[in-house]
Symmetry: C2
Subunit: 201 residues, 2 copies
């Protein structure tokens, strides 16, 4: 299973790395063949807080991936106008799970992946997503078939859990969240995450 | 305000980057002078899931920092026996806030920073921390004066909120968590985080 976490210069660390951490957790626990990859047009990129990282895969990895998650960041508005990047992404929601975190929703909207579906994003990006014609709802997570969006950095947990539940089953999603959940609060934490994604899986 | 997030080869992305993201959030919102830095003995390091990053500061940045947070990772057991690293850390809990996330608690124990205090860590690291003579409790977060520990990756939220509340006030901590919290759940999310740290600030 190939999972591309699309990560652009100026990226929000929470939005890329929470999903990466949770999805790799289930890989370590159970599905050794899963490949969760920071995927970017830039070989080297710097986060919104100046953390320099190397990409793990080039952009076209996303086109062959089973799952594509759009991360968020401080430069999404300019990326949303970058035809070189947008046209390099040839995604197919009938065959791929596609999700976005916060401002990543704007990129999904520009690629025509949201259409008339309700969508989630962060409060800062909301006006831009609405301007792109999307109905933004006041919710942390929404999904329909293979398309999902999440709003607020910590909603990355919901996005990752949804991916696992869709790829395998709800029990695996709960196991991955259980592993990363706070000690002494694991059951209630897992239950809250599962309550959010339950209507969509 | 200088904040060192100690990050070693094999690091857990969640444990370093959730704290970094939340602490930088309050910097962007309010305290421009705060400097939150991935601090490591290695100029270049790779996470437990093979994400290659560059450190932002060398190890001795921690010795001059106002706050030192020990991240967690897959190689903590060997780091806990590395006298070059341990002896390079000259920390002072009367003048610095010092906290640990998951296996970082083992490093704090080895440095004599926990003493007889109860401490939190993840379930995997628990036996090693107990072997180091520490009383590990079944809780997500514990703090006493300037020392704190957290267990379970997502408890990084509590560690970051405690740092902010200790450095400034609870309202700032709540504001930072509010920003990263899931859309549509922000108030309840903030309340849960504040309930955890409230006894300790």
């Amino acid at each position: 299973m190939k999972i591309a976490i699309l990560t652009f210069p100026g990226f929000n660390e929470l939005d890329s790395f929470i999903a990466l951490g949770i999805l790799n957790r289930i890989k370590h626990m159970k599905y050794r063949g899963w490949s969760v990859q920071i995927t970017s047009p830039s070989t080297h990129l710097t986060s919104m807080n100046n953390v320099a990282i190397e990409r793990q895969q080039p952009l076209d990895f996303a086109n062959q991936a089973d799952v594509v998650l759009f991360g968020s960041g401080a430069q999404t508005l300019s990326i949303a106008q970058d035809q070189t990047i947008l046209s390099a992404l040839q995604l197919n929601p009938t065959q791929q799970l596609i999700g976005a975190q916060c401002s990543g929703t704007l990129l999904m909207a520009k690629l025509g992946l949201i259409g008339s579906l309700p969508a989630c994003t962060d409060l800062t990006t909301k006006p831009w997503v609405e301007e792109a014609g999307v109905n933004v709802i006041n919710a942390p997570f929404y999904a329909h078939e293979n398309i999902s969006t999440a709003g607020g950095c910590m909603s990355s947990q919901y996005l990752a859990a949804w991916v696992i539940a869709k790829l395998t089953n709800k029990e695996d999603a709960a196991d991955a969240i259980h592993y990363v959940a706070p000690v002494g609060q694991k059951q209630e934490y897992v239950q809250r995450v599962m309550d959010v994604i339950d209507p969509f899986v």
